[in-house]
């Protein structure tokens, strides 16, 4: 009985977006037909597909995608861990909140992207600048989610733990952290997107590799199809990372 229903769910999830995609590509192909839009304005789907093929199979895009992925992942991990730890710290030590919160709020209202050139002048053209920019962007959503989630734990669970003589650190690890998990995964979804944005912006400003670098140099060389290929690669990376986070959440936060 479950089988047909499951199959129907799959059809429902796959067919409508696929239909939309087909329509978009059809309109795109029609607009870029011979005698249509100029290839410098919008390359044809076939030209983009060729650029993608050459980039990934020919190997010109792969190292750049790896460079961007490495910096985005590194920055995400560092920023997320720092955000989690800081959030936990202000929940554990109340006075810290009064000391840190005004500063954190002030920093949060700075458009972090605006700091990218400054960061590059500090850390240079390499990996460090990208990682730092990404970490800075990813810190805030994780920090807020950790602090909020760890406070949102059922007060009856806290009373229960206190009644059984648990230390504040034990309560943090065994009650507050799991209770914050759904919030943390929500923030990770946002942070994944922010990580790619931060990385690409950093590569726009100054870099020698990465998909952001490809897009920027494509703009100078009028390699529009190559730019499209890099952009599509970026969105594929973003979608894949988002799905990974979603699957991790489904497995780890199995109770909600």
């Amino acid at each position: 009985m479950m089988e047909p229903r499951h199959a129907l769910d799959v059809v429902k999830a796959v067919v409508p977006p696929l239909a939309t995609g087909v329509v978009i590509v059809a309109v795109w192909a029609w607009a870029t037909r011979p005698g249509g839009l100029d290839a410098f304005v919008l390359p044809s789907p076939m030209a983009v597909l060729r650029a993608l093929y050459q980039g990934w199979i020919g190997g010109t895009l792969l190292p750049h995608a790896l460079a961007t992925g490495k910096a985005a992942l590194g920055g995400l991990v560092i920023g997320a861990l720092a955000g989690l730890a800081s959030g936990a710290l202000i929940v554990l030590i109340r006075p810290l909140e009064y000391l840190m919160m005004p500063l954190v709020t002030a920093l949060q209202s700075v458009p972090k992207i605006a700091l990218a050139p400054l960061i590059i002048s500090y850390f240079g053209f390499g990996l460090e600048s990208k990682v730092f920019t990404v970490a800075l962007l990813c810190f805030f959503p994780l920090f807020v989610a950790a602090a909020t989630g760890m406070r949102a734990v059922d007060p009856r669970l806290l009373d229960m733990y206190r009644a059984f003589s648990a230390s504040p650190l034990h309560i943090l690890l065994h009650a507050r952290l799991p209770a914050a998990a759904p919030y943390v995964f929500g923030a990770l979804q946002i942070a994944v997107v922010l990580a790619l944005i931060g990385c690409v912006v950093s590569e726009f400003v100054a870099s020698t590799e990465g998909l952001g670098f490809i897009i920027k140099s494509g703009s100078g060389e009028l390699d529009i199809a190559g730019m499209f290929a890099a952009i599509l690669s970026l969105s594929a990376m973003g979608v894949a990372a988002g799905l990974l986070v979603k699957e991790a959440q489904r497995r780890i936060v199995f109770w909600s």
Partner: protein
């Protein structure tokens, strides 16, 4: 004839036993933005070693406050609370608590939930595992040790809470309306199981409830509290023989006692 048989069965009620929990002149007032709400007013009573004492009162008579005080989660504003002769200033390791709600961790298995006090107190959990399984057997949940709380019914979850309250072998068990959220059928089964557990472990129990039959069925002594602020109105000894059963509930003495308590409640509800 039947009465004579009961007389013979009457157990030696532990009246001579030393005091386990001593509540003396305890008052507590909650301060809120809207003013001061007195919860308990000069409350005094003792729980003897191994005794089953119920606190019976209408909602909002400070019953749960009393339990938080006895557990050390709250400190009284006046009066004193002593456990085995020592003042209670913080939660103690020789006390177990069963809450009104199961308050289980949804991310831990039934077995791990029972082990929570052991781990919280930093004790060796591998030794506790055997005992946890034994307690799960006692509350008839051993086959569910590896399940998660959301896979259990409300009554089963509450039984996990009871096993958890007993895991560190506390001398005193505090229970805050543990059966209030259960349906009538489950509640009667649970009353029976609790009596069995209490008789086989010999712990002192302070049992908070608003159910008259529950109090009469389980207790050696019933303390009746007034509405807010909670004051001790009556202290009633229950010397019905143990183990009490469904038949006990039809015993004339059970019925008479329950009706006396009910009258005390009615008198309480009338404006003075």
């Amino acid at each position: 004839m039947a009465v004579a048989a009961y007389e013979q069965l009457r157990p030696t009620v532990v009246r001579a036993a030393p005091t386990h929990l001593e509540v003396a002149d305890v008052s507590l007032t909650y301060e809120s933005r809207r003013g001061r709400v007195p919860a308990l007013d000069r409350l005094s009573f003792d729980v003897a070693q191994g005794a089953f004492v119920s606190v019976l009162g209408p909602s909002g008579c400070g019953k749960s406050t009393l339990l938080k005080l006895a557990s050390g989660l709250l400190r009284p504003m006046a009066g004193r609370i002593r456990l085995a002769g020592e003042p209670v200033t913080a939660p103690r390791r020789d006390v177990g608590i069963v809450f009104q709600q199961p308050t289980l961790l949804p991310w831990k298995t039934v077995l791990e939930n029972v082990l929570v006090p052991i781990r919280a107190m930093g004790r060796d959990a591998s030794a506790g595992r055997e005992r946890a399984l034994e307690l799960l057997r006692l509350v008839k949940l051993e086959p569910f040790a590896a399940n998660y709380p959301h896979e259990l019914s409300g009554g089963m979850q509450q039984r996990v809470g009871i096993a958890r309250g007993l895991i560190h072998d506390p001398a005193l068990l505090l229970m805050d309306e543990p059966f209030a959220a259960l349906d009538a059928m489950t509640r009667e089964t649970m009353m029976d199981e609790l009596q069995r557990i209490w008789m086989s472990t010999g712990k002192s129990v302070l049992f908070i409830t608003h159910s008259i039959p529950e109090a009469v069925y389980l207790s050696d002594r019933i303390l009746v509290l007034s509405p807010r602020p909670g004051r001790l109105l009556h202290s009633v000894d229950v010397d019905l023989p143990r183990p009490r059963t469904i038949e006990t509930m039809a015993d004339p003495r059970f019925v008479a006692l329950a009706s006396r308590l009910r009258q005390a409640f009615v008198a309480m509800a009338e404006p003075a």
